[in-house]
């Protein structure tokens, strides 16, 4: 009996190790599209993530990913309290923009207390504030050919620039913000100062920090590694991070 049990354990271990070689197979990766299709099918375009009361916030909102871009360019901007920072909006737009932080703050604002869900499994609740991304995009005037918005960031990870992308469903969602404040304070450097994306129906790595430029594109193919984001390119994380 003991040998049989050991054989079972060894067999199970061998089976598990045998799984490794399928990990990046296309049939396994096809589940991402299936989940996106199924989830979008049961989700209203404007269905909102839950919003919480102020007393339901996390006592401490941890940071993740880059703690500080620490490039000379970024350090110079941070030293000037981002007075010289400009958000570029370009690509497939009628009117390319270059917006200061003050200009973003003078637009209609939205504040929302939402839950941030990291792909690792933890969650934190905080209050985010900023203009809707949709307001900025309407100002720039998206061309009909634009399908995705690419967020180019100031931070480098392992020497590669961070970037992320979302489609128009999420870009014009009523909770998708260019947030400059967390819990009624300017974003700290750790949380992505001066501006980070909030795209509340997706996991944390989609919420690009240190946003420098928003590019409207027809396809993600020519950008970075072509998979639509830093983690998507280097580690095979799903572009659709709704689950």
């Amino acid at each position: 009996m003991i040998t049989r049990r050991n054989a079972l354990i060894l067999g199970a271990g061998g089976l598990l190790a045998g799984c490794d070689r399928f990990t990046d197979d296309p049939w396994l990766l096809s589940a991402e599209d299936a989940h996106r299709f199924l989830q979008r099918s049961v989700t209203g375009r404007a269905a909102k993530a839950r919003e919480f009361r102020a007393d339901q916030r996390s006592p401490f909102f941890r940071t993740n990913g880059t703690a500080n871009p620490n490039t000379p360019e970024y350090n110079a901007l941070a030293a000037g309290r981002f007075a010289d920072w400009r958000l570029k909006v370009d690509g497939l737009v009628a009117r390319p923009l270059s917006l200061s932080l003050a200009q973003l703050q003078s637009m209609p604002q939205r504040a929302q207390i939402t839950r941030h869900d990291c792909v690792e499994g933890w969650s934190a609740i905080g209050k985010w504030q900023g203009p809707l991304l949709g307001t900025v995009l309407d100002l720039a005037g998206l061309r009909d050919t634009a399908r995705y918005l690419v967020f180019h960031c100031a931070d480098l990870l392992g020497g590669r620039p961070y970037y992320e992308s979302i489609d128009l469903v999420d870009a014009f969602h009523p909770q998708t913000l260019l947030a400059w404040a967390l819990n009624d304070r300017y974003l700290s450097v750790g949380h992505g100062a001066p501006v980070r994306l909030r795209v509340e129906r997706q996991l944390g790595y989609k919420h690009a920090k240190y946003v420098m430029r928003i590019e409207a594109v027809a396809s993600l193919a020519g950008i970075g590694g072509g998979k639509g984001g830093f983690w998507e390119d280097i580690a095979g994380y799903e572009w659709y991070a709704g689950i």
Partner: protein
């Protein structure tokens, strides 16, 4: 006696229909992959919380060391790789269960084999069946095809409670589903509670699997596995006296 010669001949019963057998093996593979990849996902943040939020500075009710490579899929640390496995087989688990349930209602597998009669839940009956288990007697000689009450309870518990709970608590972790079906996350008392429930349900189905495999071995691994492959189950011959089995 003539009866003895009769009972010495192997007697086979058609015990498991095709739908049951197919689902059993697909589900066995699926549960195996879901546990392995789930443990790897857990390794990315091996702490569990109750409530809506929970991260490193919050109180964790459970904190475990990382599961070793022999228990995880993939065997090396890869959260994204584990998610590929987990999200693919999540679909197999959910739609497989749905299809199996629909077909098992149609072919009356649920009604005929898993239906629990009130008398079976009487303490005296439970105690008698428990003693029979200790004596390694797992079926009623008068009706060998029927599941015993512990089989019925555990199979029904897995099919109707545990696997649905795993699917729903897993879906409740999705930030998009939180927007689509807000009640789902709230049923569990928040996303971090749902994650804890998901983990506990995984532990229970692991326990079920271990007990199940042990009982398969005790009941005669060859006969039991053959019946789940071909459908045909050999009715074990009655022991001469109860003393022999003990």
């Amino acid at each position: 006696m003539a009866d003895e010669a009769e009972s010495a001949k192997p007697h086979f019963l058609y015990r498991h229909r095709l739908v049951t057998r197919l689902w059993h093996w697909i589900n066995a593979l699926t549960v195996f992959v879901m546990i392995g990849s789930g443990l790897m996902i857990f390794n990315a943040h091996p702490r569990l919380y109750w409530g809506q939020y929970g991260a490193n500075y919050d109180h964790a009710w459970l904190e475990l060391p990382r599961f070793p490579g022999w228990a995880t899929i993939p065997s090396h640390y890869s959260l994204s790789g584990a998610r590929h496995w987990h999200l693919f087989f999540a679909l197999v688990l959910a739609f497989g269960l749905l299809l199996y349930m629909a077909l098992s209602l149609l072919n009356r597998h649920f009604a005929r084999d898993l239906g629990i009669r009130r008398a079976e839940l009487a303490p005296r009956h439970l105690w008698a069946d428990f003693k029979a288990h200790l004596a390694l007697r797992f079926h009623d000689p008068a009706n060998p095809r029927a599941y015993n009450i512990f089989q019925k309870l555990s199979y029904a518990g897995v099919v109707f409670v545990l696997i649905p709970l795993l699917i729903l608590s897993g879906l409740a972790l999705s930030p998009n589903m939180g927007a689509a079906w807000p009640w789902l996350t709230e049923v569990f008392g928040g996303r971090q509670s749902a994650r804890s429930v998901h983990f506990i349900a995984m532990a229970l189905i692991t326990l079920f699997t271990l007990v199940h495999l042990t009982l398969v071995i005790l009941a005669g691994a060859f006969n039991e596995v053959r019946s789940m492959i071909t459908g045909w189950w050999r009715v074990p011959p009655e022991p001469e006296s109860a003393g022999e089995a003990a």
